[in-house]
């Protein structure tokens, strides 16, 4: 079929592309929006509560947000499979690149392992803390620290995923994603490297709520995520509906 053939694109998809890929491409920002509401509004782990407070303050934090923490994180436990699906979508686009599938598998592996420290640990720790509010304050303080440190400081897995993504994009001859996105992914690795300092400093710019280790890194992450969502849509639209299925 030539480009000029009428009806070349499926009439049910806007501008071409496969329908199931299109649905997943919409699902991606939808899931992240829900995730955003959970972590920002309900459970209050983003922006992070302070590391440099007393055990009594931490107990007060859990008391204050008790209900929304429980609602938010239990909902996340049900929905967390959505994260795997969003990773799968990126991996699908990576498999369409000319570099071969191993990078896509690396991405899935890195992101998959990263989910444990990335948000599962803080989910379980915070739910445990909220479960028995009359627990010893030192134990609640411990759950707070473990949750926040793992959530903000989880590094190696995501760095590996960003690295394989960047390399795949740079060597891809099919131009599924533009080269500049590889560079944005490399910036993500840099912020993860800096995040190591969170484990050392309870206050200051390198703490888990610090201006450099957290806030500036959030800016970079937001750029990365927004760019990824836009690029997934472009990649899905650019794919023709009759492109052969991947292995």
């Amino acid at each position: 079929m030539s480009v000029l053939t009428p009806g070349r694109f499926s009439p049910t998809t806007a501008g071409g592309g496969k329908r199931d890929v299109g649905w997943m491409t919409w699902f991606f920002p939808a899931w992240y929006a829900v995730f955003g509401v959970i972590i920002c509004v309900l459970t209050r782990v983003t922006p992070p509560p302070r590391p440099d407070i007393t055990a009594a303050d931490k107990v007060a934090f859990f008391n204050q947000h008790h209900l929304t923490i429980q609602i938010g994180f239990t909902v996340l436990l049900i929905l967390l499979g959505g994260a795997a699906m969003t990773n799968g979508l990126v991996a699908y686009q990576m498999k369409r690149m000319s570099v071969g599938s191993v990078f896509a598998y690396g991405y899935i592996g890195g992101m998959g392992v990263g989910a444990l420290p990335g948000f599962l640990l803080v989910t379980v720790c915070f739910l445990t803390a909220a479960f028995r509010p009359d627990r010893d304050p030192q134990l609640i303080s411990l759950l707070y620290d473990v949750g926040m440190l793992s959530y903000n400081g989880s590094l190696g897995c995501f760095s590996a995923a960003y690295l394989v993504l960047a390399i795949a994009i740079l060597y891809d001859r099919n131009n599924i994603f533009p080269k500049w996105f590889a560079y944005v992914s490399i910036w993500q690795i840099i912020t993860e490297v800096i995040a190591t300092q969170m484990f050392v400093f309870p206050s200051g710019p390198f703490a888990w709520n610090g201006s450099i280790a957290f806030w500036w890194a959030v800016v970079v992450f937001s750029v990365w995520l927004v760019a990824l969502i836009m690029l997934l849509r472009k990649a899905a639209a650019a794919e023709s509906a009759d492109e052969p299925a991947l292995d």
């Binding site: 560079y183 490297v193 300092q197 400093f201 200051g204 710019p205 201006s211 450099i212 500036w216």
Partner: protein, 172 residues
């Protein structure tokens, strides 16, 4: 590549600004800590990195002039300078840590993070130079735009160091 360079410059700019803000909150402490830095190592390292940029810039000219073999030798020169910088930097860190300047001091925490992130950029740069050498060695390739892109990245590493040198080592 300019997306990478401009974005990276902005990101580092953020680090520099935060450093300055914290410095303005503790000027005497920062000044006192700064004195423990070895300015000689700083100057030598700066010259080493400037020289590596000279090598890389000359390499680009050679590629444009159709002399890829000389370009490869020049790129090796640039890479060797980069490695020398790395070795000296690690030695400098070793000396500072042995002398007790750890990141328990605020100035030094900035020093280690900023020079550390810069070192990661340098390592990436060495990989980039390796990719450029391979490109030039592959018969029938040697795309000029690629050599120029890689060189631009390398000069960015040099540029960032010049600012770091001024802010951390020299300014008071």
């Amino acid at each position: 590549m300019w997306v990478m360079v401009l974005g990276d410059l902005v990101i580092f700019g953020g680090y520099f600004i935060v450093f300055m803000i914290y410095r303005s909150m503790n000027p005497t402490a920062f000044l006192a800590a700064q004195q423990h830095l070895n300015i000689t190592i700083g100057v030598v390292n700066t010259v080493i990195l400037l020289t590596s940029s000279w090598f890389v810039a000359q390499a680009v000219l050679c590629v444009r002039g159709g002399d890829p073999d000389r370009a490869v030798r020049l790129l090796w020169g640039g890479a060797a300078s980069g490695v020398a910088f790395m070795v000296l930097k690690c030695y400098e860190w070793y000396r500072e840590i042995i002398a007790g300047q750890t990141n328990s001091d605020m100035f030094y925490s900035f020093y280690y993070v900023i020079t550390g992130v810069h070192l990661v950029h340098l390592l990436i740069g060495l990989i980039v130079l390796g990719v450029l050498v391979r490109e030039l060695r592959t018969p029938g390739r040697g795309r000029v735009w690629m050599i120029e892109s890689g060189a631009t990245y390398w000069h960015m590493v040099d540029l960032l160091w010049v600012i770091i040198f001024a802010l951390l080592y020299v300014m008071r």
